[in-house]
């Protein structure tokens, strides 16, 4: 049996995890940056694919089935499987992991972008059309500003999903903090736990920052 995670520990080991962080701040910061690079690239790629499609479908009020099933299918695809499948296509390395994580990111972004734009009050868009706005003007000046909160929710969910999932990429040479987590032989349990604490802080941090950012960019009246 192969297992990447195996050791049992006692309370001291959990404290040693923090000691590992205190002893190796530079190393862990470097690994955390690698992690964020991978997650950021995946999120960017996913956004580039999902947001235009979601926004366009929402603008045209078409393809609700596609947009809604995207989120269910996105959730049904396990990251381990995506990594394995793209490994057979791209080989081991950054591209494989980036694409696999990007697929995870598309689900929530596509569904929310569609819902955000599609859900804009018809009366408002009709009024804009009555004022002589073109389709593009309605999209950029009316629909997108109104859709912003929900659009941002989709990006936030995708970002947290990608950051929290990205350590698994280490099983296919993903590097980052995940590489420490699955390499107990080299870093011992305290190193693994130290990296675990860092990943938790990273993904909780991303969640809180985006939540705060969402409050800032959203006009007060449309808080959800």
């Amino acid at each position: 049996m192969i297992s990447l995670l195996y050791d049992t520990a006692n309370a001291h080991t959990f404290v040693d995890g923090f000691r590992f962080i205190a002893d190796n701040p530079g190393f862990l910061a470097h690994k955390a940056m690698q992690q964020l690079e991978l997650a950021g690239a995946a999120l960017g790629l996913g956004a580039a694919a999902a947001l235009p499609i979601g926004i366009l479908l929402g603008h045209l009020h078409r393809g609700s089935t596609v947009a809604i099933s995207a989120s269910i299918i996105g959730r049904a695809l396990p990251i381990v499987l995506l990594i394995a499948i793209f490994l057979t296509v791209f080989g081991i390395g950054f591209v494989n992991n980036m694409v696999a994580l990007a697929v995870l990111a598309t689900g929530p972004m596509l569904t929310n972008a569609y819902g955000a734009v599609e859900g804009v009050d018809r009366d408002v868009t009709d009024a804009a059309r009555g004022m002589g706005m073109s389709g593009l003007q309605i999209l950029t000046r009316v629909e997108l500003p109104l859709a912003l909160p929900l659009l941002f929710t989709g990006i936030r969910i995708a970002a947290v999903t990608v950051v929290a999932t990205s350590p698994i990429a280490a099983i296919a040479g993903g590097g980052g903090l995940g590489a420490v987590i699955v390499n107990q032989a080299s870093y011992r349990l305290e190193g693994v736990l130290g990296a675990c604490y860092c990943v938790m802080a990273l993904s909780a941090g991303v969640w809180l920052v985006l939540l705060a950012l969402q409050r800032v960019v959203t006009p007060r009246v449309v808080h959800t």
Binding site: M1, I2, S3, L4, L5, Y6, D7, T8, A9, N10, T13, F14, I72, R75, A76, L77, P78, I79, V80, L81, I83, A84, I85, L87, T88, I92, V160, A164, T165, S166, P167, I168, I171, A172, G173, G178, I181, V182, L189, V192, L193, C196, V199, M200, S203, A204, V206, W207
Partner: protein, 236 residues
């Protein structure tokens, strides 16, 4: 990762037909030969893990939702706590729990339960709140006690939302449970993970286990859609 051997060496796959040794796109022969010893047992484990995790998660989420339905102040703190739990990466949760529970099902089920809360709890709460005021007023007028209101009016009206939450929770749990393969030989993630770490990733095993895991998620989803049809007759 394992050191790469010379050529496509695929151990433990029996004698190996030309398809298997050549690692072709998909080998039906391998699937037939290893259904009983590889695919089926992992599929069964995967179903068990999912059902146990979602059942426990649902019981906890329902209890929490009932509490915050009465005490509204608790709603935000519970929702935020569940959100924070969701940010804990599954690999990390498994690693930390292994330290307590070893390579056991408990280690796998606890994080799965935690992740299901963030989906189930808000859905149950919003479902319970969805009863229109007129309906509640009428129920009160008929002399229903708060407890009777809950079970005869609010819970039945919350069913569509509850089942909606269960659908998402089950599908996500099936997917996340593949990561449980890092905690030893458990679930359909294991054959995928095993085939992945071979010197030459074995395609047939990755694809066949992949089809099963995605099919399982969609199968659970269909069951819940059917359950909704039966339980929520009044909505049609």
């Amino acid at each position: 990762m394992t050191a790469a051997g010379p050529g496509p060496v695929i151990p433990n796959f029996g004698q190996g037909s030309a398809c298997v040794t050549g690692n072709h796109f998909f080998c039906w022969g391998w699937v037939r030969q290893h259904w009983g010893d590889t695919l089926e047992p992992h599929l069964v484990q995967h179903v068990e893990l999912t059902v146990i995790a979602v059942a426990i998660g649902f019981a906890i989420a329902f209890a929490l939702a009932l509490v915050s339905h009465r005490l509204r102040v608790l709603d935000q703190p519970i929702a935020i706590t569940a959100g924070l739990i969701y940010t804990i990466p599954s690999v990390v949760a498994f690693e930390i729990l292994i330290a307590y529970f070893g390579l056991s099902n408990t280690t796998v089920v606890i994080p799965l339960v935690g992740y299901s809360l963030v989906i189930l709890y808000p859905n149950i709460v919003s479902g319970l709140r969805s009863a229109p005021p007129e309906v509640l007023e009428a129920a009160r007028g008929m002399g229903l006690e708060p407890r009777q209101m809950l079970w005869r009016v609010e819970v039945p009206l919350a069913l569509p939302s509850i089942i909606g939450g269960l659908r998402i929770a089950v599908v996500s749990t099936v997917a996340i449970a593949t990561v449980a393969s890092l905690v030893g030989d458990r679930g359909l993630g294991y054959p995928i993970f095993y085939a992945l770490q071979l010197p030459t990733p074995f395609k047939t095993e990755i694809y066949s286990a992949g089809v099963l895991v995605v099919g399982l998620a969609l199968g659970f989803d269909l069951v819940l859609v059917a359950a909704r049809r039966i339980l929520v007759r009044w909505a049609q």
